[in-house]
Amino acid sequence: MSERPFFVFPKWSDWLTKVIVISTLIIPVYLVILIAYGCSARTLNVNYAPKQPVPYSHAFHAGKLGINCEYCHTDVKRAAYAALPPTQTCLNCHSLIAAKSRKLQAIRNSYGTGKKSLAGMSVPWIKVDDLPDYVYFNHEAHVNAGISCLVCHGKVNEMTRVYQAKPFNMAWCLNCHRNPAPYLRPRNEVTNLNWTGKNKVKLAKDLGLTVATLPHNLGKYLLKRYHIPSVKLLTDCETCHH
């Protein structure tokens, strides 16, 4: 004698399986991917390009005229902070060229030849590449170790208005700290943003070698030559969060 089972799911309840599968598997996975993509540092941080008080074009000054980064950011090789230039640096040329340009009003205000109330005040430049306050980045240490401006700031010599080119999150920093060799270049080519390293003669000259004695692996060679600390030290918390 066959007994009736205690409980049988009715046929209409089939759709519940679909609902459960969708709500427990597909929707959470979808949300996780969406949030990871939408809130990633690459999405949130890159391409921030604030409007500056002076429409200074790096593409013209650093790109077309080829003025070295260090002409304005003089302290980069001897201080932790690559300082913005004082107003005087702009006026080295602009007291003579385009001195009356409308674009330079903020510069004149700061210098004291414009609005009297703003004389002696800084030009209110807006910081683009800004790190969190618990990270202590040192320009001097990086630039003198053969890390180009390009690695963090992108091709500034092609930017009419500077934008943030790299995500500046910790994973991105560690990417290089775990394996610095491919990012290294000769020290005196650090501010040359068009450097490729393919010109062997120039490369040999930069390193004080001859073409014949050029190292096979430039990164590994520079790692030794510039005394770059071990990966263990480079990835230590205290290296950046001291």
Partner: protein, 267 residues
């Protein structure tokens, strides 16, 4: 059958709708934004301390960094010179330091002058031992600070000058009152004493601005040494230093040339 196809359509539509946010994010990724980044988790990103060159409401000039008090020097501005000679300290050299210093030597390095009977005279030598490294440093500094106007070879035709000449040709009012920079290889500079060239770098001359704040003391001397090296490599020698017969021949030649020039002007 019909119902099944309808279901498929619904799923495809839902799937496509699910891709829309990704598309929007992708668009946002490639667009420049003028608003600052959107920090979801603030952590301690912004802490109540001042980073370099940040604004502050505490001071009337709006700066958190305080300017130099007149008559004082920052630590890195000290030039440390040894009693007898200036010796470059290998470790701090890159920062523009030299080792310390009697006041006399210190002053001569800082101002490019020495005291003779209580009066300042321009130094005729570079008060820092010349090494290959020192001159090479001069080259890198020259290529940074002097090249924009004077050009890589020092002949006074750098990119800024070329750009101004172009503006002038186009008749643009932006060309302004620019004066073409001097030729560093010409006799004008070759005649100058080292101390005077140093002084030009430090305090400027004519329309050239002072580079005191941009170039540290030792680097200024390095640039002087490189300018001298440029002159040597381009064989510019002050007339007074030429051997006697050549000097006289040159003199007669210039007299002749000048006479010719005057005749042409008259006619």
């Amino acid at each position: 059958m019909k119902r099944k196809t309808r279901n498929v359509y619904i799923y495809v539509n839902i799937g496509l709708a699910a891709l829309v946010p990704f598309g929007l994010i992708c668009l946002a990724r490639h667009e420049r934004t003028t608003t600052p980044r959107w920090a979801i988790i603030q952590d301690m990103d912004k802490q109540p301390y001042y980073k370099p060159q940040r604004p502050s409401k505490l001071f009337a000039d709006g700066r958190a960094m305080r300017p130099h008090i007149p008559g004082t020097l920052a630590q890195q501005d000290f030039i440390f010179v040894n009693q007898a000679e200036v010796r470059v300290h290998p470790k701090t050299w890159a920062k523009g330091h030299v080792v310390l210093a009697s006041k006399k030597v210190y002053d001569s390095v800082l101002y490019g002058q020495k005291l003779v009977h209580g009066q300042g005279q321009w130094l005729t030598h570079i008060p820092i031992p010349l090494t290959k490294r020192f001159v090479e440093r001069g080259r890198t500094e020259f290529n940074i600070f002097c090249e924009p106007c004077h050009g890589y070879n020092g002949r006074g035709n750098g990119p800024v000058n070329r750009w101004d000449q172009r503006l002038r040709k186009e008749g643009s009012p932006e060309a302004g009152t620019w004066v073409p920079p001097s030729n560093l290889l010409g006799p004008g500079v070759a005649y100058l004493s080292d101390g005077l060239i140093y002084n030009v770098i430090a305090n400027g001359v004519g329309t050239m601005a002072s580079y005191k704040d941009q170039i540290p003391v030792v680097d200024r001397w390095a640039i002087v040494s490189y300018v001298r090296a440029l002159e040597k490599s381009q064989k510019v020698v002050p007339v007074a230093k030429l051997p006697y017969p050549i000097r006289t021949r040159l003199k007669s030649l210039t007299v002749k040339l000048n006479a010719k020039g005057k005749k042409k002007k008259k006619s």
